[in-house]
């Protein structure tokens, strides 16, 4: 009996411990990260954006990236509803979507995708098959149903095409890949354009639907005589068989990173500016001898005036966002090759940089804005200590601070010997997540000047006649972990005591009846 109770109490304590640990950890993560950029949208660029998330830590340790690959449609929705800092989509915004935005948006092509026709036919070697757009359209319309159809045989006289039914595989869910594929089919086949059209999901006349690139790939691999479409990156990494496609110049082009890049370079001179409508931009069936015909941009979406989105609440965050994007389209492109993405050609990078220059925050261009000049005066330093740790506050003003006091878990009180504008740098170990600055009962406007991993710099004006300013923040020493541990310890002791003395507490202990 006795051991039962004890075991149970320990069990409960353990569960409590496990459940509270993430709380303290997230509090710590919150205290350490400077700015978090939230994005959502297309799944296609996710591996690349995720790579950027990791690599950008080396460039800007204070800026954290959080990207949810929920699909282009969801990305556009969240971007429109201003719940994320940037959106990502595989299809450009159409007229309807543009008109429902709360402000003007810019398109920033951040990578390029191409789609291949993958197949599984015994006897046809890898990349041996040649196809044209109209033939693909007829296959996906259900008009060509046999592999040994005369139209296919004419293009591939040397291949042993079997007299078997073609199994068409397409995506079941809406996807950017489908958008690219149906855009291409619409461009090359009037019948497809009239009967089906282009979109992230369409009413397929025939075939099997499978979930995701993986689902389509698996279905093709396990189904003989199947044909379907997958992202080039996916086909390359999984080693699928895929077809050469005839381009506008009449060449049969193997889908590769290079031939896709050629298509983009050929289309680059015709691209609109970032803030113009991109709804008609299409890389499919591009000009050029070397161009692979089924390619498309994937876009990042930003508001031209970043303050349209209340999530972007400071010029620092606006700058962090634009800095990240401009890093992604330049230095970030070097990670593309390894992940089988097509790096942006130079013309597109230049176009993007022009677009970024036009982005403003509260009417001011974000790039090339310099931080506000420090107030006049002399630097000063004051130090305080609490529980054996000392904290140093530095600042600049025409007067100096004489004293710093920490009121644990409430606020930091700073005493000045004058009034006027002051810039203060406060260590994060002492105070973090600064919310309000108060002189007596009056709340002062304060401006966040900069934030690093270890300190926050704020600027405010000490009103005439006051000398004492209280700064409140989300975290003030003693650190939250300590408080959490205290609560936890109390909880554990409480639970153990309770179960021991009550026997049957909360139904978890075993009473005498057992």
């Amino acid at each position: 009996m006795h051991t039962d109770k004890r075991t149970l109490a320990w069990l409960v304590a353990g569960i409590l411990l496990v459940s509270i640990t993430p709380l303290t950890m997230s509090a710590k993560a919150f205290a350490q990260s400077g700015i978090t950029l939230n994005g959502a949208g297309a799944t296609f660029p996710f591996p690349l954006i995720d790579e950027w998330r990791v690599r950008y830590q080396d460039v800007q340790p204070d800026v954290a990236l959080n990207y949810q690959s929920i699909g282009s449609g969801g990305g556009i929705r969240q971007f429109t509803e201003k719940t994320v800092d940037f959106g990502a989509t595989d299809a450009p915004l159409n007229a309807n979507q543009t008109s429902s935005l709360p402000g003007q948006a810019v398109h920033i092509p951040e990578t390029i995708g191409s789609v291949v026709a993958a197949y599984n036919v015994i006897g046809i070697p890898d990349k041996g098959l040649k196809l044209t757009g109209p033939i693909l359209a007829d296959i996906f319309l259900g008009k060509i149903t046999k592999w040994d159809d005369p139209k296919i045989e004419e293009l591939n006289p040397d291949l042993p095409l079997p007299a078997q039914d073609i199994v068409v595989v397409h995506r079941a869910e809406g996807s950017g890949t489908t958008f690219v594929w149906t855009s291409y089919l619409s461009k090359v086949s009037t019948e497809w354009e009239v009967q089906v059209g282009r979109g992230t999901s369409v009413q397929w006349p025939t075939g099997l639907g499978a979930q995701g690139n993986e689902g389509v790939a698996t279905t093709i691999r396990d189904t003989q005589y199947a044909i379907g479409y997958v992202e080039l990156a996916y086909a390359l990494t999984t080693g699928m068989d895929f077809a050469f496609i005839e381009n506008l110049a009449g060449q049969f082009i193997e889908p590769t990173l290079d031939s896709t890049r050629a298509a983009v370079a050929a289309s680059a001179p015709t691209l609109p500016k970032g803030e113009e409508s991109w709804s008609n931009v299409s890389l499919v069936n591009a000009l050029g001898q070397e161009s692979y015909p089924i390619a498309s941009f994937s876009y990042l979406l930003l508001y031209k005036e970043l303050s349209t989105n209340p999530q972007i609440d400071s010029v620092e965050k606006a700058r962090a966002l634009v800095d990240f994007v401009s890093w992604a389209i330049t230095d970030g492109q070097e990670f593309a090759d390894d992940l089988s993405y097509v790096p942006l050609p130079e013309q597109v990078v230049t176009l993007n940089q022009e677009t970024l220059k036009g982005i403003t925050f509260n009417g001011q261009p974000v790039i090339e804005t310099t931080p506000p000049p420090p107030p006049e005066g002399e630097p000063f330093t004051v130090t305080t200590s609490l529980d054996g740790t000392s904290y140093t506050v530095t600042g600049t003003s025409t007067f100096t601070a004489t004293e710093v006091d920490i009121i644990p878990e409430q606020y930091v009180r700073i005493t000045f010997d004058g009034d006027g504008e002051v810039e203060l740098t406060l260590p994060k170990a002492m105070i973090d997540g600064i919310t309000t600055v108060k002189a007596g009962s009056e709340t002062l406007d304060h401006e966040m000047v900069s934030s690093s991993a270890s300190s926050t710099t704020i600027k405010f004006t000490v009103p005439e006649g006051s000398s004492v300013v209280d700064i409140q923040g989300a975290m003030i020493v003693p650190e939250f972990e300590f408080v959490a541990l205290l609560i936890l310890a109390t909880a554990i002791v409480g639970v153990i005591g309770f179960t021991r003395f009550r026997g049957n507490a909360m139904g978890v202990g075993f009473g005498k009846r057992m």
Binding site: I70, G71, S72, G73, G74, I76, N94, N96, Q97, D165, V167, A172, E173, G174, S175, V196, G197, R198, G199, T200, S201, V202, Q203, W204, P205, T206, G207, L208, G209, A210, Q211, G215, T218, T219, D222, T223, A226
Partner: protein
């Protein structure tokens, strides 16, 4: 003093219990409300023909939505699952509770319970990667070769991703559920019933058929309805193996046709439903599913109550 304390506890208990049951009612009302509200745009576009329409075209400018193919797909797959699953489930239940010695019955029952706890996504993956290929090679192709020319039921070259596969995998999923509930129900039959039957000289089969089944009819029907509910609402497993056809192509004309169920259409398309009509149409499908499952449950309730009244010797 002791009594007073107890009365107070009783009052609190009463309110807690009332609150808990009020929660279910509130949930029902809230779900109904938001589903109907979300469905309004598509009904303004399609009117009531949404229910009988067969188009599903989310391409902007050509939008047109109809729910009929998915209602049919849902009923057909659930129907196949029941036809295959119910007899097997009852067989398992009878075996464990009536025939097997405890040494065999207990482990079998345990395994069934474990199977019932496997998440459906696991069945789905297994079905997509392994089972459908067995099914294709061992059942579908032979059936097609034997009857494809004569019976319209089998007149389509099978690929392994179709209503037949979906139905069978659903059956595999619901068998553990139905059989473990049925076993409990059969176990609850008083031994006097069995002893009476055997003492009258009834064989085992006669006992099961003429005594046990009639006695437990209502309970067994309830178990079946729970299985049916699972089969109708199952989403991800079906999405993986049904072939996900859309529009008129999703009305299964043969056993080997690709189709789609209501919940799998919603699951596949909701993320990328870009236009307001598209997402509204998906919510309206949700409303149809809501009505469908409610209809099934109410129908089952009526059936159970009628059975209990009509059959003498039925429980209570």
């Amino acid at each position: 003093m002791f009594l007073g304390k107890k009365r107070k506890g009783d009052r609190i208990f009463r309110w807690v219990v009332i609150g808990a049951s009020g929660y279910t009612l509130l949930m029902l009302v809230l779900v109904a409300f938001s589903v109907i509200e979300g469905a309004i745009p598509v009904f303004s576009l399609e009117g009531l023909s949404f229910f009988i329409g067969t188009d599903w075209n989310p391409v902007e400018g050509r939008e047109s939505y109809g729910a009929l193919p998915y209602v049919i797909g849902t009923l057909v797959t659930a129907g196949i699952a029941m036809v295959i699953g119910v007899p097997i489930s009852l067989g398992i239940a009878v075996f464990i509770s009536e025939i097997a010695p405890p040494k065999v019955g207990t482990p079998v029952a345990y395994v069934i319970e474990v199977l019932a706890a496997i998440p459906s996504i696991i069945y789905g993956l297994w079905a997509l990667l392994v089972f459908r290929i067995w099914l294709l090679d061992l059942i579908e192709r032979p059936l097609y070769q034997a009857f494809g020319g004569t019976l319209p039921f089998f007149a389509k070259a099978p690929f392994g991703l179709d209503v037949f596969t979906a139905g069978i995998v659903l059956a595999v999923m619901i068998i553990p559920i139905i059989s473990s509930i049925s076993r409990e129900i059969l176990k609850a039959i008083p031994n006097s019933q069995r002893e009476a039957a055997y003492s009258l000289g009834a064989t085992r089969w006669e006992t099961v058929r003429k005594v046990l089944f009639p006695y437990a009819k209502a309970g067994l029907l309830g178990a079946t309805v729970i299985g049916l509910g699972r089969a109708v609402g199952e989403t991800i497993l079906v999405t993986m193996v049904i072939g996900n056809a859309l529009g008129i192509a999703a009305i299964p004309t043969t056993l080997f046709s690709q189709s789609n169920t209501i919940s799998s259409v919603i699951a596949s398309q909701f993320n990328e439903a870009v236009t307001p009509f598209h997402s509204s149409a998906l919510i309206a499908l949700g409303a149809v599913l809501f009505v469908l499952t409610m209809g099934i449950n109410i129908g089952a309730q009526l059936l159970v109550s009628r059975m209990v009244k009509v059959v003498p010797g039925g429980r209570e």
